[in-house]
Symmetry: C2
């Protein structure tokens, strides 16, 4: 059902962006990507969101038809924007922000040709910074997602039956997700980041390197989407890592839990506890001003001290981060990685995912989503963190 | 499960592209998008597929790790490509094909800076042309998809129960799809074409205009994805149009069927029959050399003659095409639209979707996928085409 954002909420976002625009002397920002259109207008449309350095935006819309609003101007092509500006006696912008990491080359060049600006700067970078600090309304959306996320995870045991494949298990979890209001698609930053609703990673498939910048890999069920479950039958004494997205609002909560088919070898529980310990140590240290790079280094040190370095964030291919911002996209700022220059700021929402991949057992560990408050962090994904045995008292609710 | 394409199949594709390259004098094609990487290498990776005008390609790979092959060179950044070429004594290309409608502006500009070519041309356009003519292997993949597509559609009635919402109905159909091997995501050309597994469009929701270039619209369950089902309870005497994708291989079959909650008003059956008649007339006329624009105009004329123009391809917003190529993406070439210059060619695979939206009833009509043969067309999506009453002898298989 369509609910549009309040003007006050949008106003806050425009002002934040306008502040950044003033800092770099940009007079106009033109937005085309769905994710930024939604952030700045509360809607998805085919067209252009046009924000001057001061004052209200104009929505230049091609589709959908039928919107009646003072700020909406229907156009057929980007050239109509400059004609409209001229009609209104508004001067053509000179320093324009365009989404250089989202627009295609041809779309970008065409907009440049329309305005022939003296300078263009990267709207993608600026928007990612603005979006990394969530408003109260956005935080409320995360809480709704996280609550449903936990409800869905509480039904995962009921999706399991012995001898099933990881792909069939995933299909049942997806059905529970969709019945609980999952929006379906989830958005990732970067053109080549393909995934379907999340990842179910069972047994030795957890070792298979994937091409994407997600934490772990997996073979996938088809070579056109090499990530996650591969259709193999889940085996006793192996783990199943469930990292399905919390897309019950447009704001994505990120939560991973580890399940097992019967009892796992002892090393799995030790590695899993280490994951929880790393999470707790990072959460303890996190507050406004904390360096994201230091948090990552802390995770490396703890993994190394415990002798688990070779299994941390993969084996054959190891991810070089332990956490990442979440929001409308699953990979926002800040990033908890070695080269990060970012310091935590109140309103950041990030996922923390110390994970280990154990050869012949599978992936273990957890992931939770944290909100940076004025004094520390608050965990917003609340669900049992120990390894859950799927074969123990498994009630079928399917 | 991973199956890689035979070298012979890939060789055919490289040669087709190399022929196009020679025609425009390009000496190298560099591919980055997932869909074109998969088309040309049978794999998805983070990196660059580098095809010279003559000879074999080189895969410059960042991820996944672990590929051992003569044609694979591991790199960290695009600049490493030119270093490698220099090491091998290969001259730096002068006229490069880059994916101008797929690469982001920044990625494109970076590749230009690496090679500093005298000229760049648009690989997107060329690849879309090459991909529009399917090989025998690809046609076989469509047949596999289409067969499973029909099997899933035969189970749609079993997903229905009276009083359910369109979104719950869709969730059940998606579960059947995924259990039958649906890959999950389906790819569309264009950055802003968001959709989740297809569209279920019930009753008056069919009139709601959406921002995307799909045939019909719908409100969606959330304003961040305004397309398809909106969570409303499905009502007696309304239609439900099911247009879920056939992604059981990487090659997408496209098939729409109309269902009803009980008996519909007579006009619905007349409009539905008109849709079948338009399909049959277009199929009859289609053969190598037929103008795609003429096929579209034929559909307009038939809709007008029957007095259904105002309902054709929407009401408040009407799509301006009646068919489109399908393949690895749902919107390939050729397009059956007024301004199309394309003529049908053997090996084209296109979806034909004459649809009508009837106020207060919903959408009716069908869609099928056709292969252009040497002498005409062959329908490859085979399933009952009449309106199917969901309330008639509905066996629950859920």
């Amino acid at each position: 059902m369509t609910t549009f954002l309040s003007n006050k909420e949008l106003q806050t976002r425009w002002e934040r962006l306008q502040t950044k625009m003033s800092e770099i002397g940009a007079d106009t920002c033109i937005i085309v990507s769905n994710v930024n259109l939604y952030y700045l207008s509360g809607r998805i449309f085919t067209g252009y969101f046009y924000l001057p350095a001061e004052g209200e935006p104009v929505l230049f819309v091609r589709k959908p038809l039928g919107w009646n609003n003072d700020n909406v101007v229907y156009i057929r092509k980007p050239e109509d924007i400059s004609s409209w500006l001229q009609t209104k006696g508004i001067s053509i912008p000179k320093h324009i922000l365009l989404e250089a990491d989202q627009l295609t080359y041809n779309d970008y060049v065409r907009l440049q040709a329309v305005f022939n600006p003296e300078k263009t700067s990267n709207a993608t970078t600026l928007l990612r910074q603005v979006r990394s600090i969530k408003t109260d309304w956005e935080i409320g959306q995360f809480r709704i997602s996280a609550k449903k996320h936990a409800e869905v995870y509480s039904r995962i045991k009921g999706c399991y039956s012995p001898g099933m494949s990881d792909a069939e298990f995933q299909a049942k979890i997806e059905y529970v997700m969709r019945s609980m209001g999952s929006i379906g698609i989830f958005r990732a930053f970067g053109n080549n980041m393909d995934i379907h609703m999340g990842s179910v990673l069972a047994g030795e498939n957890a070792e298979v390197p994937a091409p994407f910048d997600f934490a772990l890999g997996g073979e996938g069920i088809d070579s056109s989407l090499p990530i996650g479950s591969n259709g193999a039958i889940m085996k006793p004494r192996t783990s199943v890592m469930i990292d399905m997205v919390g897309n019950y609002t447009a704001y994505l909560s990120d939560m991973t839990r580890t399940f097992s088919i019967g009892k796992l070898p002892d090393i799995a529980y030790r590695a899993h506890q280490l994951s929880i310990d790393i999470q707790d140590a990072i959460a303890e240290k996190s507050k406004p001003g904390t360096s994201c790079a230091e948090l990552y280094i802390l995770s490396l040190q703890m993994a190394e001290k415990a002798g688990f370095s070779n299994y941390f964030m993969g084996t054959k291919q190891q991810a070089k981060f332990v956490g990442h911002g979440v929001g409308l996209e699953i990979n926002e700022l800040p990033v908890l990685t070695e080269r990060s220059k970012e310091l935590l700021v109140p309103g950041n929402v990030f996922a923390l995912e110390p994970k280990f991949v154990l050869p012949s057992i599978g992936a273990v560990g957890i992931e939770n989503t944290f909100l940076v408050t004025d004094s520390g962090v608050e965990k917003i994904t609340l669900f049992e963190e120990q390894i859950i045995d799927l074969e123990e008292n498994s009630p079928s609710d399917f």
